[in-house]
């Protein structure tokens, strides 16, 4: 691979390092280490907040897997991908002000702090810490594998070296800079994603001879590519609609999104983030998936979905520009990984260590613990990603939907329904995870139950579990003013 492609990537990594270093200067200046390291001192402005939500959420799948599927499935898959626009506004409007106010009142730094104060139950805390550590850990490793593979395919280095470069880059700025570094680098990475996708879309449309031409080519090849039902006619309306739950409204339950909803400075930055986040998410999703399908007439016959974007970029753009554009999926992967890494480490330090092991730990110990745990976790993930074990791939399947099914109701109903109590929360989490795993197996063996995505039914069941158990056992209204 030519130097012209690699050089922009190196410059990109250097900028990221610089931002991480800048953020670490802020940490040493601030007084409350925990709040600063894991929440950026609750001082995020609108733009950074929006970008960090978009970047955290947009992962390898939005930049490599998704467009790759659009390449084979056609417009129906873009219809599905556009359900993600809803996350842009839904998470902030639902968690919104109430979560921000309560999180401050409770002095909560993690999502689990919030659950702990709301439900006052060690079982809820341990259950949620365990599911977060396990699921996010495996989700993270999967993303590292993606990052390593991307560098591998771009630079021609072997996978181990590529993974090493990726790991070092992420670890340096997350460990020293904490949440603020993550959020700031996310903002840079989000910017790279927006510009990168726009350049590539224009490049592909020109290479394909204009939109009319491209769509005509698709019609000639297989008219179904232009319908909402997929290239083989198998994308049903029920299935596509159920993605409204998986990637749209259900995202409210993802801890990495919820923690961002406690980090904003004031309601003004929240409103700005709402606008910017929605526009940017929709823009990136629409562009990337259009690129995926427009690539089909330009570069037919690509077998592996993940390779569509790298190949098309190298095909239609000059090498240096392709380098800049391909920094976008790189940015997406890095920004997802960095937030997950920090979240898992905050869960271990804050939710488990300080809560149950050593509540009287001094500021200095906590500081050393936080740096140490973050670095050690990163190294473990690196070692696992070198040769990913079966179990991990298995757990990763559940990461996204499983977390949603576990957390959505304890968070949302915990915020808005005063009768919600710990019995409801525990029942809801267990029902969510267990039924998610059960239905996953059922769907694998028999095709999708009711024709909808696996996540749908567990979310419904865990809702009823929450309500029924809250009302049956020790029913008392919760007083939010305490």
């Amino acid at each position: 691979m030519s130097l012209a492609v690699i050089l922009p990537m190196i410059i990109f990594l250097l900028i990221i390092f610089f931002v991480g270093y800048y953020a670490s200067q802020k940490i040493s200046a601030s007084n409350s280490f925990l709040q600063e390291y894991f929440l950026g001192g609750r001082q995020l402005g609108g733009f950074v907040l929006a970008m960090t939500m978009v970047a955290t959420y947009g992962s390898a799948s939005s930049f490599l897997g998704g467009p790759g599927t659009a390449y084979t499935m056609g417009f129906g898959w873009i219809l599905l991908a556009m359900t993600q626009v809803v996350t842009g506004y839904f998470v902030l409007l639902i968690l919104g002000k109430k979560f921000a106010i309560l999180a401050r009142r409770y002095k909560a730094i993690t999502l689990i702090d919030f659950l702990k104060m709301r439900y006052k139950s060690p079982i809820v805390v341990l259950l949620s810490a365990a599911s977060m550590i396990i699921f996010l850990f495996s989700a993270m490793t999967a993303q590292w594998v993606g990052g390593g593979r991307l560098i591998e395919s771009l630079t021609g280095l072997n996978y181990h070296t590529a993974l090493f470069i990726f790991a070092v880059s992420v670890l340096v700025y997350v460990t020293i800079g904490g949440f603020r570094a993550v959020a700031l680098t996310d903002a840079v990475q989000g910017g790279v994603m927006v510009i990168g996708t726009l350049i590539l879309l224009i490049g592909v449309v020109i290479a394909g001879g204009g939109m009319d031409n491209i769509v005509q080519d698709l019609l000639n090849e297989n008219p179904r590519l232009v319908t909402p039902f997929g290239s083989d006619g198998n994308l049903s309306a029920a299935y596509v609609s159920s993605f409204w739950i998986l990637v749209g409204v259900g995202v409210v339950g993802l801890p990495q999104m919820a923690v961002r909803a406690m980090s904003y400075k004031n309601s003004k930055s929240m409103h700005r983030a709402l606008v910017i986040g929605t526009i940017v998410t929709g823009f990136i999703m629409l562009n990337m998936h259009l690129i995926g399908i427009f690539a089909r007439p330009v570069l037919p016959g690509i077998e592996i979905g993940d390779k569509v974007i790298p190949l098309i970029a190298l095909e239609v753009l000059p090498a240096w520009l392709a380098g800049i554009v391909l920094a976008a999926p790189m940015a997406a992967i890095m920004s997802t990984v960095d937030s997950l890494l920090l979240l898992v480490s905050s869960s271990i330090v804050k939710d488990v260590y300080i809560n149950y092991v050593k509540p009287e730990a001094s500021e200095k110990t906590i500081k050393r613990m936080s740096f140490g745990v973050t670095a050690i976790l990163g190294i473990i993930v690196f070692l696992l990603a070198l040769n990913p074990p079966e179990l991990l791939i298995f757990l990763n399947l559940f990461a996204f939907g499983g977390l949603e099914a576990a957390f959505i109701w304890p968070v949302v109903l915990g915020l808005y329904w005063s009768y919600g109590n710990k019995y409801g929360a525990i029942a809801s989490m267990i029902t969510g995870i267990v039924s998610y795993i059960a239905i996953h197996y059922y769907n694998q063996a028999n095709g999708n139950l009711f024709g909808v995505h696996t996540v749908t039914i567990p979310i419904v069941l865990s809702f009823f579990a929450f309500v029924v158990f809250s009302l049956l056992i020790k029913r008392t209204p919760y007083d939010f003013e305490k």
Binding site: F75, I78, L79, M82, T83, V85, V86, G88, Y89, F90, L92, L93, I94, G96, K97, K98, A100, I101, R104, R105, G210, M211, D212, N213, I214, V215, L219, P223, R224, V226, T227, P228, F229, A237, V240, S241, W244, G248, V249, N266, S267, K268, H271, R272, L274, V275, T278, I279, G282, L286, Y416, P477, D479, F480, E481, K482
Partner: protein
């Protein structure tokens, strides 16, 4: 029970706005995608080269959502302080 924090009233109202907006968004998205998209392919018309169902459902739908969000953020959502002002509880 003590007096409810007045900020919560605003927060609850805005959460309902979120739910309402998502429902309207879904109806728009679903209606155009499967309303227009279920016709035979030969009957599709094309706007800026894109099939009409897709153009209305995803492109126009997205633009409308952006406009709605901007209007909401400017005129409907209220600014509240997140800090605890009355520490005398």
């Amino acid at each position: 029970m003590k007096q409810q924090d007045p900020r919560f009233k605003i927060a609850h109202r805005e959460a309902w706005i979120g739910v309402g907006l998502a429902i309207l968004h879904f109806i728009w998205w679903f209606g155009f995608a499967y309303g227009l998209g279920s016709r035979p392919v030969e009957e599709y018309s094309y706007i800026f080269g894109l099939p009409d169902w897709f153009f209305y459902s995803c492109v126009v739908g997205f633009i409308l959502i952006c406009i709605t969000i901007i209007v909401l953020a400017k005129f409907v959502l209220k600014e509240v302080s997140f800090e605890e002002e009355d520490e005398v509880k």
